[in-house]
Subunit: 324 residues, 2 copies
Amino acid sequence: MRTRLTDLLGIETPIICGGMMRVGTADLAAAVSNAGGLGIMTALTQKTPEGLKAEIEKCQALTDKPFGVNITVGVVATQVDYGALVEVIVNSGVKIVETAGRSPEPFMPFFKAAGIKVIHKCVTVRHSLAAERLGVDVVSIDGFECAGHPGEQDVGGLVLFPAAAQALKIPVVASGGIADGRGLAAALALGCDGVNMGTRFMATQEAPIHQGIKDKIVEMDENQTQIIFRSYRNTARVYKNSVAMKVAEIEAAGGGFDEVHEYVSGSNQERAWTTGDIDAGMVTAGMSGAFVDDVPTCKELIERIVGDAERIISQRLAGMVGQS
Amino acid sequence: MRTRLTDLLGIETPIICGGMMRVGTADLAAAVSNAGGLGIMTALTQKTPEGLKAEIEKCQALTDKPFGVNITVGVVATQVDYGALVEVIVNSGVKIVETAGRSPEPFMPFFKAAGIKVIHKCVTVRHSLAAERLGVDVVSIDGFECAGHPGEQDVGGLVLFPAAAQALKIPVVASGGIADGRGLAAALALGCDGVNMGTRFMATQEAPIHQGIKDKIVEMDENQTQIIFRSYRNTARVYKNSVAMKVAEIEAAGGGFDEVHEYVSGSNQERAWTTGDIDAGMVTAGMSGAFVDDVPTCKELIERIVGDAERIISQRLAGMVGQS
């Protein structure tokens, strides 16, 4: 399957496994890239610039195909030395970077000088246009259904994807709510050039996640996520477990950030991830979990999605056209 | 364009203009049906059973094509004599009914005995399955982007449409967030058999709405709607004017139903509709207004949407398939 995105990035299928904290390791990124998609490692999953350098080298050893590195700049100040991470990326030979969070403006000259293609994640058309003006090569637009941070405008992908695609000249990647060939075909019909998936790739053989979490994603339906942190204008979509529901309850009762923070700190996110006890802490997951029904390899998954999308286009849709 | 929906209803294109209070008159319904879609009149827009009978006869005089009648049963008790309206519909020769609000169960035997096809509007997969078990012929599923009442689950069409389509055996109509050929092609890719549009048809020549309102819909972007009445679990999506923003403000401040009701009663919805002063009162509109850029005739609109969808399928999507 060929689109402007596959041409630009030199990949075989227009499917990206976006950067996910904890999950975006060299193993998963290489598996996605070897399967013809674009795997993306996350810089912040490594604790130091040296750790990131080693993880990139590991990924380069695992695949000859293009892969990307995600660098997410938080909206709150952190101790992270972004300059050092960018320096590692620029000197690593990596050719694709995914930026998220704050504007990538400070880093753009370094990426451009190194010939790195930049995919910037946005949640609004306005920010997408700003990113295009900055010179990013691709916008990955997150609709309301997405895991993590969908922003505060609550525009579903069905509307946000075509709105972004018609506003931008550069290729647009549809993100959030997509987990199968139907979603890929729909995103392409809406004017996008490819799709980004996170939750779907969490439930693959290669994802470095406890089987218990993968099983819970397989069991999800479309109502199994929860919006939290809305009252602090830092909205997040997470798996609807007891922790998320308690946070929502605190917020609904007018509880402040401190109260929520204290409660969340008392839960054990690390334990949820490492033991598969989904009620132990917050777990990020998107609505597309409704369409995750198994735990295939990345290769099986990508082949299936592309095959299904092609059949939808060549058989189902083509069969509806020109008849009356 | 041929789908299970066009076959079942005997229409030429899988495009429905769903029932809209005030807007669903014989003139608009006939214009949509004459253009090859399915126009739907609203029973409650007429004040009496006699008025409904006359409006149906008017529609029958204006078109030989199939059209439908919407009957919306409110979740709060009203003075409406639904039995009398159903009797008028059943005796009118109308062959298609769109039900909304409460379950259509009490009316199903009458519709079935008259050979009437029933399209039931739902906002969840669970209610869709219940409607299918009741014997409705089609489910029209409203995603979070829709005008009016999207329910309380906030599942965008990108996820809700395929979730409903895979759960149901009967044809599914995608509703909410769709206004053009991209949306039609995407809905069909997601497994639906057609689309329902409201906001898009409000901005047509034949819609019985003041030009000032049509102009405002043309100007909309994807952020120009407002969710209200969430705190009373009767969520509605309306045009984001000063009235809607004030209601949202009252709700955010913890204001009760009485306070909101008093404020809304003091605004003048009738004046908004009759004078085109969009700030005079509440005006229902969905996110798809982002894709409404003109005020064509229904015939021009339907031809354009079908033509665009067919080009997307036969050219854009077909061109992406089978290449690598």
